[in-house]
Amino acid sequence: MILSPEEWGVVRLSLLVGGTAMLVTLPLAFALAWALARGRFPGRVLLDGVVHLPLVVPPVVTGWVLLLAFGPDGPIGHWLEAWFGVSVLFRWTGAAIASAVMALPLVVRAIRLSIEAVDPRLEQAARTLGAGRGRVFATITLPLCAPGILAGLVLGFARSIGEFGATITFVSNVPGETATLPLAIYSALQRPGGEDMVWRLAAVSVVLSLIALVASEWLARRMGRGLHVL
């Protein structure tokens, strides 16, 4: 497919935003998934609810909350400005944050399922063979849930690439900076003579999403067979 340099820029930006979003999400999502799967503490149900909020709250509300938090007067925005002299508003980093928050529930869910699928009896067996908690985690738990973690990240990546509402509310629609695929398609739709660009970018979106979904499904199946992926 022939894309113009401008359209390639949109695709590159989307991949950058989605990839960064998943890198940011991974440690947080794993910690949350572990706490929800294995933790026994008061407020676990509440935490589960909060993690799932971005899935059901209108994305524009999520974007607005991010704007409050990361704006110049917001707690995080003020801190970033004071210590590092940076702001994520109108920047691709802000778009990545919005994508990460919106994808978080999906990623946590997938990782949590994969942790819950690890048979604790195998971990017990490993301990009787002399492995401490750290070695059990590194050699039994993590390898067994790795395909599920990857499947979750790929799914989250696809979700990131499709993110619209929270992103446009939080960091606006700046060409070359925050205008990822859905935002660029939206702009092209508003522009007379933009139909060809809409067709091409829409096709790219569908292909990318399809690849991600198939890859995610394939990884999840592999996990069912208990095979090494890494």
Binding site: R121, L122, R127, L227
Partner: protein, 201 residues
């Protein structure tokens, strides 16, 4: 003294208690299902915390509630063959057998020959038959250089020829390795074949 065990634990409505002291060879914990035989093995291995009592194995105190001793499972050097083989599904047979090796020792060639599992080393656990998986699980426990071996119904869910095969392997383990065995069963014939000592529950 191989095992010196005096334990009590309450699990839900069931109170489980056992006291026995045994010499070398194979001791069989014999009794009907549901009296807590598996719980006793789990307490010896450190996978279940007793409410009171002590566990001394091969002269070393592993658990004593009054002295505040409670060694972690990985520090007890106890080979545990569970009722299901519990082989690690993402590792080939050889890697499963090697898993406990960092603890040192164990006669690799001898154990593999004794159990007849040399031809299985490159296989994945899911491709093994029930009897093969059982023998690999026994080998994995033996190769972790254990002080003693715990066996939980090692012949359950096997057909008759496989049972004979595993029983022969266990007798060989008892006679050739000198590792004391504590085995749980509800089958009198099994108990008869392997036991040098029987504890009835």
């Amino acid at each position: 003294m191989s095992f010196d065990v005096d334990l009590a634990v309450r699990r839900g409505d069931v109170a489980i208690a056992a006291r026995f002291a045994t010499g070398p060879g194979a001791t069989v914990l014999f009794g009907p299902s549901g009296v807590g035989k598996t719980s006793i093995l789990q307490m010896v291995a450190g996978l279940l915390r007793p409410d009171a009592g002590h566990v001394r194995v091969g002269g070393e105190m592993l658990f004593d509630d009054r002295a505040g001793i409670d060694l972690k499972p990985e520090s007890r050097r106890i080979g545990y063959v569970f009722q299901e083989p519990r082989l690690f599904p993402h590792m080939r047979v050889a890697a499963n057998l090697r898993y406990g090796r960092p603890r040192g020792g164990g006669d690799w060639d001898g154990v593999i020959a004794m159990l007849g599992i040399g031809h299985l080393l490159d296989r994945w656990p899911r491709s093994l038959s029930g009897g093969e998986a059982r023998r690999v699980a026994i080998g994995r426990a033996l190769l972790s250089n254990p002080r003693v071996l715990l066996l939980d119904e090692p012949l359950s869910s096997l057909d008759r020829p496989r049972r004979g095969e595993i029983l022969d392997a266990l007798v060989a383990v008892r006679d050739r390795t000198g590792v004391p065995i504590l085995m749980v069963t509800h089958d009198p014939d099994e108990a008869e074949r392997i036991a040098t000592d029987i504890v009835r529950l």
